[in-house]
């Protein structure tokens, strides 16, 4: 493996870790709201969250590029805040990855919140727990399998993304050149040997992740009763 490849691996892991953390922070309240809201625009929000599931990543990347570019709405805001334009930066990749993997984080958590039903929270309320206390002491522990699934899926999905990254980040080594882009570059340059190393590693990684996921899923089913 070349030092550049190694850099791509570290960058990918860094991107996936940060994206996952950001996602958990955003997805938890969103999933809670989606699980409990009875408002008419719940369907609208749910559809928007799920959109990255069906959109080609290039479409998402394209619009993000326009939005976050110097002339885009988001771009103007970031420039006014002194952050500068986000495309072709690591921060831009994080934003893109978060949006792209949002449904993978929201849906398992939402399912877990829905599966536990209202009853445990009602019980906690009759036992003097405040709403926040109920969330921390009952909802979070009971939704743990959902969080585990969300974490694994969000991380793995970010590691595996290509289209959004390429559109939004290009291929700047150390800044935006992640694994999938590095593989693509190797193949374009006919460096099949190097591509094999990275691609094979990805296959192994993905397999292990899924293996872990199904074991969690199995325990979940057993624990649910």
């Amino acid at each position: 493996m070349t030092p550049e490849d190694l850099q791509a691996v570290t960058l990918t892991l860094k991107l996936a870790s940060i994206t996952t953390l950001v996602l958990l922070c955003i997805a938890t309240p969103l999933a809670w709201w989606l699980a409990h809201s009875r408002s008419w625009y719940k369907g609208l929000v749910a559809a928007m969250v799920a959109l990255p599931l069906v959109l080609p990543p290039t479409v998402l990347g394209f619009y993000l590029l326009l939005l976050m570019g110097p002339q885009g709405m988001v771009g103007e805001i970031t420039r006014a805040l002194g952050i500068g334009a986000l495309p072709f930066t690591f921060s831009g990749l994080v934003v893109g990855s978060v949006l792209f993997s949002l449904p993978f984080a929201v849906q398992p958590i939402q399912n877990a919140f829905e599966a536990m039903g209202k009853r445990p929270l009602e019980v906690a309320a009759t036992l003097r727990a405040t709403p926040w206390d109920r969330f921390i002491s009952v909802a979070l522990p009971l939704a743990r399998p959902g969080f585990l699934t969300a974490t694994i899926l969000a991380f793995a999905h970010t590691v595996g993304e290509f289209g959004v990254v390429l559109m939004l980040g290009g291929s700047i080594p150390g800044e935006t050149q992640v694994l999938s882009v590095a593989i693509y570059s190797h193949v374009e340059a006919m460096e099949y040997g190097e591509a094999h190393w990275l691609a094979g590693g990805m296959v192994l990684f993905s397999f292990l992740v899924l293996l872990g996921l199904y074991r969690v899923g199995g325990n979940w089913a057993k624990g649910a009763r």
């Binding site: 445990p120 019980v123 309320a125 009759t126 036992l127 003097r128 206390d133 009971l142 009763r225």
Partner: protein
Amino acid sequence: MTWLRVHLKMQQGSFELDAQFSAPPVGVTALFGPSGSGKSTLLRCIAGLEQGHGWLRVNGVPWQDETTFMPVHKRPLGYVFQEASLFPHLSVRANLEYGYKRIAAAQRKVQPEQVIDWLGLSHLVDRHDATSLSGGERQRVAIGRALLVSPELLLMDEPLSALDTQSKQEILPYLERLHRELQIPMLYVSHDMGEVARLADHLVLLKNGKVIASGDVRETLSRLDLPTAHFDDAGAVIEAKVAQQDEKYHLTRLDFAGGELWVSRVEQPFGTTMRARVLARDVSIATQVPHGSSINNILNARIEEIRDEGVDKVLVRLRVGEAQQLLARITRRSRDHLGLVDGMYVCAQVKSVALMS
């Protein structure tokens, strides 16, 4: 003695709850009615788990009125749900102590060890997985968990209906002890006449979301104008004290104002108050003291009211002594044959007495 006063309304689809009643500060008040009568909804409104309209005062404190709605976690209540609903991620002890830990030390009137001992949970308390308990054990833990918040009012939503007969028999004595020994007023939702006769002191009868009657359980269960008197297992509740033990025939005499009842031997000290239930179908009427009868319990009674029931039966409300009432279900033919009318003095023959505590 209106310690608890409720007038709550709620619309749920086509169902309308509009219930008004009051309850005394002692004993068990049963909310009784067929399924769909709104009794569980009413209980949930009282707990604050549903928000209806109207008002609710407990011990002088407004839990709900036009301007206030006290959130559930601020109401000093204990709630036992139909299913035990233990927290699956907590051990049995952590379940028991969940609410206990959340109230101020000064408010704790009972300690976990007392409740554990009292509900016979000592061998279960160290289980890590609360879901591994049997149905009856789970419900006992749920009752203990509710008691450990030292509630001013204990709400029970059909706590036995999800259990099999054996588990029910396992829990009932605990509920009776709760009733006898703890000074916590209880609202007890049930659709089981046997449970109500056994546990309740006060009865609130619901039908289609409305309260159709409310009062002392002995009075209310003997009212012929209410549907409860016409159930197949309708009957009167008698509270009587252990007065004599008959060693030879292995019987016990129970005394109540207006008479006495001989029942199968009960191993209770003299003076213990027992609750007995006499079903209307187990009472027959004679105009003279019968001779040569195998029936042990023959009470002097006065006919207070007679009401037709179905095509062939009549239900007779009898007064025994000052305060006690009995129901007798007899055929219309017997009524005419014996010429039974209101105000007549008769003998009530009690074929069987079910002791309940």
